[in-house]
Structures are given as structure tokens and as C-alpha cells.
């Protein structure tokens, strides 16, 4: 069992780092579209303009996507440091993705109940965050065993 744990833990941080890279790309994409004011391609079922141009899309004039990019870059860095043996970073990663997960729940709530409109790039980001959270929880559960 000890061997299984030793082998499987680094795989999870590696997977987490790759996912965080995906989240980083998504956040950079939204940041660029925000600053160029080019509308993002949006599916029929979505109303990206309504979401990305709403007052909830910025904090003090800074687009949320910028904060998302910083968060994903930090998550990536923490996961990579864990891959190379720094276990303390994995704990910090766990705390960070819990915070990101809670904020994602708030953003989904805003889209569903306040704006009544969704943006697929925001949902992709939330999906990545929840997957990172699941990875952190699996890792925690595994270690607890």
C-alpha cells in the first residue's frame, strides 16, 4: 500500500498541473477578449456578451479573467513543485482550490440567478476548478488511507 501511495500521489499533481495549464489558457483567452472588446464566439444556448460585459465581470476595473489567470498559474506552480517532491505545496494547492471552488460556485450562482445567462468559457473554467478540487480531495482521501 505504501508503494501505491508513493507512486500515485505525484500522478495527481501532474494531472492537476496540466489541468491548471488549460485553465490558464482559458483565462488568458478571456482576458485578451476583454481588453480588445472583441466578442467571444458563443454557442446558441449561451449569452456570453451578457455575462462578460456585466458588472460582475470586473473587480475595480480589473477583469475577473486576470484573477483567474493568476489563480491558475499559482495552482500550476504549486502542483509542479509537488511533482518534484515539495509536499507542503500540495497542501497549499488544496487550500487554494477550495477557495477557487467556492468562488466558482458564486460565479455560477451569478450566471444562473442574477444574470440568467451563461458563458461557456466561464463554465469550462468552473469545470477545471471543480476537477482540481476533486483531485485535491482524492489525494487527501488517499493519504488518509
Amino acid at each position: 500500500m505504501e508503494t501505491t501511495e508513493q507512486n500515485s500521489i505525484p500522478k495527481l499533481p501532474l494531472l492537476a498541473s496540466l489541468l491548471a495549464l488549460g485553465g490558464l489558457a482559458d483565462a488568458i483567452y478571456l482576458t485578451i477578449h476583454h481588453y480588445t472588446t472583441e466578442p467571444v464566439p458563443c454557442g446558441e444556448a449561451f449569452d456570453c456578451g451578457a455575462v462578460l460585459t456585466s458588472s460582475y465581470a470586473e473587480i475595480n476595473g480589473i477583469p475577473l479573467a486576470v484573477f483567474g489567470a493568476i489563480a491558475y498559474f499559482t495552482a500550476f506552480s504549486l502542483a509542479i513543485l509537488t511533482v518534484f517532491g515539495n509536499r507542503l505545496m500540495w497542501r497549499i494547492f488544496g487550500l487554494q482550490v477550495v477557495a477557487m471552488g467556492l468562488f466558482s460556485i458564486y460565479l455560477i450562482y451569478v450566471q444562473a440567478f442574477v444574470l440568467k445567462a451563461f458563458c461557456q468559457f466561464c463554465l469550462i473554467s468552473a469545470g477545471i476548478t471543480f476537477t482540481l478540487l476533486i483531485i485535491a480531495l482524492i489525494s487527501k482521501f488517499w493519504r488518509a488511507k
Partner: protein, 242 residues
Amino acid sequence: MNNQKNSMLPIAIIGLVLLVALVGGWFWYSSTATVSNRNTTANRTPDAGKLNEQKIIYEKGSPGANPPNLLGAPNATVTVEEFADFQCGTCAVKHPIAKEIIATYGSRIKFIFRSYPLTQIHDKAYDAAVAAEAAGMQGKYWDMQNQLFTNQASWMTKDPVAFRGILEEYAKKIGLDIEKFKTDMAGLPAKTRVDLDMQRGRSIRVSSTPTFFINGKPLDLSQMTVEGMKQAIDAELQKTPQ
């Protein structure tokens, strides 16, 4: 030596990702910005060429419902034209901003509101727009518009049939003759006005709601605040002799 090498590797990977993100992001931004003729100054307003092109499109667009739903002075030199969907959350969020602008500028501006229901995604937006026009036929367009936006959360999730009942409630609340309201809702004139406004929106390339034009210039997303709109209106007011 090997350990040191091992501890440097994650730092190198992180640094490389940061570099790729920043440099790649910058190139991506530059290429997108070139395509959209972005102004190179920091205020995110489109450059003169793009603005001129948009202004020409605006001026050549379909006229829309005539007379339009208008507040302020019809002969004011500054026209603020809003395209909005009653079922769009952001439009409801921006409604108090538009109201504040109207209250602040009064007869110094001409404020036009046009319905632009996004019918593919909002099942009650068209009916809501027709209801506002039907109320307008009894001189209460703005009262109905206000009811629809301020109470949006309470009717948003209702089915279209129940929504008809809610519209009649609002009609009673603002003092409309209900029978006339129902007849006007069903009749062609109110629908035609909505259709004409939608046609105008499409012809001047309205792609999202709300969209505000100030003397033909579309407002940037970041300008859809009281301060942002004031700046844009003041700039236009300064151009013309009072």
C-alpha cells in the same frame, strides 16, 4: 549537484510557463487587437477609423419604430440610444444607470430606448417588448419598461402563459385600461414597432444587449457605468454649442 539540478527544474518549468503565458498572451493580444483596429492608447476606445465606419453603419441603419420611445428633448444635440432585451439580466442591471443618466441630463440629451429581444434564447423577451409598446399606446411605455426591468427576477423563470398574467398585473398596477392593453398586445401595431426596432438593431450590427450608442458611437463595455456614460455624453456636449 544532482539534487540542486532537481530543485532548479520545477523553477525552470514555472518560469518557462510564465514566459510563454506572458509573451504568447501579448502576441495573441496584439494580433487580435490589429484585427479589431484597437486603439493603442490605454482607454480601450476603438480608433478613429473604426469609429467612423461604425458611425456610417449607424447613420445608414433602418430607422426603427417611428416615433421612437424617447425621453429628454427631441432636438437635443446628443442622442443616447439604447438597445435592450427585457429578459436579459445585464439589461436589468444597467437599467438604473440609464435612469440616472436620464435624470441627470434631462433635456440636454435625447434618450431613445429600443427593444432588441434575443428571441432564440429568451422565451418571454418578445412578449415583454410588445407589452411595453402596448402600454405606450396608452402613454405608459416608460412605466411598463420600469416594471419589467425592476421586477425581472420575479417573472424570469415563469412560463410564457403565466407571464401573460403577470403582464396584465403590471398593466393594472400602472393604471392601464386592461381591455385596451390586451387588444393592443394582440394587435399588429405594437408588434410592428418591436419588429422595426429589431430590424434597426440588426442593421446597425447590435450583437449583444444592452448596447448603448452615444451620437452613433457604441459604448465600450467598461463605459456602461454612470461615470463612463457621463464622460462620453459630456465629451459630445462639449463638441456642440449649447
